[in-house]
Symmetry: C2
Subunit: 258 residues, 2 copies
DNA sequence: GCAAAAGTGTTGTTTATACACCCATGC
DNA sequence: GCATGGGTGTATAAACAACACTTTTGC
């Protein structure tokens, strides 16, 4: 959606293609340089940052819509993508919009009504992605994008700060019950890498030896016979996820601490 | 909503009051006679059983809508009520309905279209209630109600079996991380009562002594100086939840097994 | 040879599990 | 006095938490 014509059609007639009152807001979480990052788009008008959301097609299964939106925005497929909450309580999610507010926000000159004025509840998904594989596509509404460190999220449009907060809280809770990392790390990774990843997500130090014992003990990762030379004084062993055990743990859940 | 006139108005004009495309389906879980029960309503036509759902008013915050619907159906306020999933994947949640299907289902004679034909996603909530305090109200669409044992749920309308399953699965998972029982038991209860409750929810035996040690050790319940004579050979001590510790555990979460 | 990073085991403590007998009551 | 259900403690095993030195490598 890039030409002015397409945009006008979307604003005027999008409700014929998409369900009104509902949007999907994915919190795309990547990991880079020992920091957790969230992908935000800069929306036209207002200089506002927001989530790379989208709408559900009228006959499209919900989870398919979530995957489609993510794919359209990032080029990624086959992601870890999980629904975590539906937001419909904040003032922004109760009010309808006005034509003035809308035109100001997006720098448009719509007259009359559009389905986009209507109250819209947002379905929150979060995705864990390999930072380096993402190629972001912007469109008419989104003029820029940026990966933001989770500790430095700017004020977002609508109630989206709450959405991001809840996504991160869900992730931190879930890491105690499900393995995480398959989509955040390269296929082969080192112990220090996954160790730092967990420390970053949880925001606290984890004992080096206990951590390794735990993951290997649970059978989630296995040591390979390769080492990688990644810099001065450093040639750590490589590890790999045990796919079966990993999938199993995802399904069954684990009850444990770190 | 009981008179024919009200029903017709709801079918024809309900979309002016309620958001289309969204419903709230509460899974109301009660506990009685050492069994977990789910409250189901019998809908007119088709002899079908289903959840006591409702719609969201256009300017009503989502969680308020959920509480309102529950209150309208059961007379209960101030419940433990929690959103757990939004359902939008099953064929029933993708298709639109036809006038014939609709009229057959509800024994109505609508002509033309209604907002109720449209694709509707369902927001799943589950509530834990004191079985004995519920006074169910039926309306035009719901001719009967019954508490069903969780192991004997009949085939439900649409994809609602999946909704109930997921509610129960969420409850079973959550019981490991949050205290449960405040809304399922009377204010004062006995150890065997709460013990059996947990066994019922989890579907497995829990050691009597270890269970008591755990709950008292966590400070969630405290023993009172009273006993209750409840039958032959039985005069167990009464216990009470420690409100502060309980609320705190709800917020913080607990990581433990039983 | 020295600075930086990775690798590796042991111990004390806490937590979980398994297990059985006595007491009180109602009949 | 006996049948039923409630109450209570201990010993073993497993999991967790705390802790520091050695090895490798690049410069």
């Amino acid at each position: 959606m890039n030409s002015q014509e397409e945009v006008n059609d979307f604003v005027k007639n999008g409700h014929q293609q998409y369900l009104p009152h509902l949007s999907i807001d994915p919190v795309i979480i990547g990991y880079h340089d020992q920091q957790l990052k969230v992908l935000l788009l800069k929306w036209i008008g207002l200089n506002g940052w927001g989530l790379p959301g989208g709408f559900i097609q009228r006959r499209e299964p919900l989870s398919q819509a979530a995957h489609r939106i993510l794919h359209e925005r990032t080029g990624l497929e086959d992601l870890f993508l999980q629904q975590f909450h539906i937001f419909g309580d904040s003032p922004y999610r109760v009010q309808e919009r006005s034509v003035n507010e809308f035109n100001e926000t997006y720098g448009l000159a719509i007259d009359g009504n559009t389905w986009l004025f209507e109250r819209t509840l947002s379905i929150g998904y979060f995705a864990l992605v390999d930072y380096s594989k993402v190629s972001v596509r912007t469109d008419f509404f989104t003029v820029d994008y940026q990966w933001w460190d989770v500790s430095e999220i700017p004020p977002l449009l609508f109630d989206q700060n709450e959405v991001v907060e809840k996504a991160l809280a869900t992730l931190r809770l879930q890491i105690y019950h499900q393995p995480i990392g398959y989509n955040l790390l390269p296929e082969k990774f080192t112990l220090p890498e996954i160790h730092t990843l967990y420390e970053t997500i949880l925001g606290k130090k984890l004992d080096q030896r206990n951590f390794a014992k735990k993951l290997v003990g649970l059978g989630l990762i296995k040591k390979l016979d390769e080492q990688r030379a990644i810099g001065p004084h450093r040639s750590p062993y490589l590890y790999q996820f045990e796919k079966d055990a990993y999938e199993n743990a995802l399904k069954q859940g684990i009850v444990h601490t770190y």
